[in-house]
Symmetry: C2
C-alpha cells in the first residue's frame, strides 16, 4: 500500500513541486518545473502521480481551466478566484464565505441529495490584468 511505503524520489519531487506553489499548476507545469533537476522524468509519471495524490487525499483538482486540469495540494476548504484573461488561480481567504454543515443539511433535506463537499469560484480580472 502507498501509505506504508515511502514515496519514491520522483513521487516526492512531484508532490514537493505541487505543494511549494500557490499557482495551482497543471501537470505540464509540474513537468516543466522538474525537468531540469530530473532529466529522466516523463510527463506520464507526473499525470500518474497527481492521480495518486488525489486518490490518497494529498491533492485535489481545482477544475479544468482552459483545457488543462489544475491541481492544489492545499486541502483546506477555500474559495478560488480565476482570472478570465491570464487563467491565474488565486486562493481567497476562507473567511469571506464558508457554508457550514447546516447548509449541507438543509440541501439534503430540501433537495433529496447527500452533499459531500462544495466548491466556490469567483471569476474576473486579477490585479495584473485589469
Amino acid at each position: 500500500m502507498q501509505s506504508k511505503r515511502n514515496f519514491s524520489a520522483k513521487r516526492e519531487a512531484i508532490y514537493a513541486a505541487l505543494a511549494s506553489t500557490t499557482l495551482h499548476p497543471s501537470a505540464e507545469w509540474v513537468y516543466e518545473q522538474l525537468k531540469p533537476e530530473l532529466p529522466g522524468l516523463s510527463l506520464g509519471t507526473v499525470y500518474r502521480n497527481l492521480s495518486v495524490f488525489k486518490e490518497i487525499g494529498l491533492a485535489r483538482s481545482v477544475g479544468i481551466i482552459n483545457g488543462q486540469e489544475r491541481f492544489d495540494a492545499n486541502m483546506m476548504q477555500h474559495p478560488h478566484f480565476i482570472c478570465q484573461k491570464c487563467f491565474r488561480i488565486l486562493d481567497l481567504p476562507a473567511g469571506y464565505y464558508s457554508p457550514g454543515k447546516n447548509l449541507y443539511k438543509m440541501l439534503e433535506r430540501e433537495c433529496d441529495i447527500s452533499v459531500e463537499m462544495h466548491s466556490m469560484t469567483f471569476y474576473g480580472l486579477c490585479s495584473r490584468c485589469r
Copy 2:
C-alpha cells in the same frame, strides 16, 4: 448594410434543444437528440454553435464533467449540484445561497481583483444514487 440574418434552422434547433432541458447536456447529447429530426446535422456544427451561444451570452458552460463540457441555457445565477456517481447536474434554488454585489465589492477591495461572476457547486450523491 449590416446583415440581418436570423439564426439558421440548425442553430435554432440546437439552441431549442439546449434550452428545453435541465439536464445540462454535452455537445454529444444535443447532437444525438437532434439527429432523428435533422439527419444531416454534424457534430462539429453543434460544437461551433454552442461556442457561439457562449460568446453572445445565450448559454454558459457548467464545467467539464467526466471529460465532457456541459452546457446550460439558463443564464440566471444559480448553484449546481453534481452527482459524483452518475454525473447528473441538478439546478439548486438560488435562495440557498446567493452572494450579492456587497461580497463582490469586498473581494475587490480586499484582494485587489475585479469580480465579474461566481459559481457555486455542491458535490455528493443524487436521490437515485445514494
